[in-house]
Amino acid sequence: METNHEDSWAASRLATIEPQWSPNFARGRALLDAKLAGRRHSWTWKAAAAATAAACVAVLALPGTRALAQELWYRFVLDRVDVVQLDLSKLPLHMQVTTNGLEQSVPNMDEAERKAGFRPYLPPPGVLSANPGITVTGPIAVEQTIHVRDIESALGKVGASDVHVPAEWEGMQLRTEIGSVVAASYRDDVQILQARPIELSVPSGFALEHFGELAFRSIGVSLWEARAMALKFAAHPAWLLDIPANAVVNVQEVELRAGPALLIEDFAEKGEVKRAIVVRSTSERMYSVSSRNRELSIKIADALP
């Protein structure tokens, strides 16, 4: 501690607030691990939870006539975003997630493009003050396998005893692919994530709408609501984001120059905005812009193509 004439008085005062405890490294490490695990689990915007939701949407989205096509798999690209206050991670499907690696820092946009396979969009100069740090996360594939007994069990637990789960569904797989995700991180917790749209593959000849209805019912959605949701998605497929039913969030559609997007505001304990996220998906790109301020998130999203 370097000294000056006020030293002893200030030092003696500040000494009284020196912690009398020693930091518990093991507890800190455990907290860090738990947060990291939680972050991975709640990576709604960029990983498995979104993929889980999206896979369900894919199943719901495909009209029955398409499923009759003479293809082993039907591939589908989502170009819309929707939000449901459900926990889709509770879907009674056996899920396997594979990825080719961790998030990597890259020095510039050219390298990001080389790794991700697409040129990331950034807002033009003047929208944000500094250059971002860029990272690229490798592709993620999610395979969900249907086990009839699991679905029957989940339906039984929520009291849905009026339905029959076809035995031929046993072992069928739904596959979701999320391409590389580019993250641009700016000061003040501003982040832009972007990726190619999610691709989904489902076996042809599968009773998609029926499965969607049962899937929603298995996590507690009522019969008529589940049926309505299935119809909605069949009419206009979407990348589905799930938000816990007890989460305090505001979701609204906002109109950007490039088209509609969703604004999702997450509130802290005292009602202040904790995160404001603008999510948009097109046939060519999906992205989310997040910051601690809704106007800023919208402004940045509006500056993207």
Partner: protein, 175 residues
Amino acid sequence: MADPSEMEVANPEGLDAIFRAHYERIARVIGMVIHDQARAEELAVEVFLKWWRNPLAHGEHAAGWLYRTSVREALDELRRQTRRSRFERLFDFVRESPPTPEQLYAVNAEQHRVRTALGALNRRHAELLLLWSQGLNHQEIAVALAVDSNYVGSLVSRAQEALRKEYLKRYGNQS
């Protein structure tokens, strides 16, 4: 061996290295402002997670970024606590040997006064004092707060003076 703050850090191994190197000191800095050990440790972990998420904070100035962010987090938390009138936490003092009630009262009351005065200072003064009190030298403080190292001495002096004035204004010459 490379300084952990200079390692490639956008991966769990990098985070692990810098966490090992700095966690205890960061937790103590926060602990000066936030009396509750558990809360101070939680905030320290949040600081590391923020650092991990922010590639701009990586590299040679990682330690400075950690200190700056930790004092800001701590001061923000103190102000939140003040607003919520949750100072009862300040009296959950844990010591190795039990103090007498008089000692406990005197120590806690003084801590309360110092923290209140510290929380009433402008942010830059409070940041300077917290880092100075942790034994950071002028160069380290300059890096952490992005100020010219030639001015750190005078800035610290002004911050000390501000603390003294704020304390005396509120409590008089009680110490």
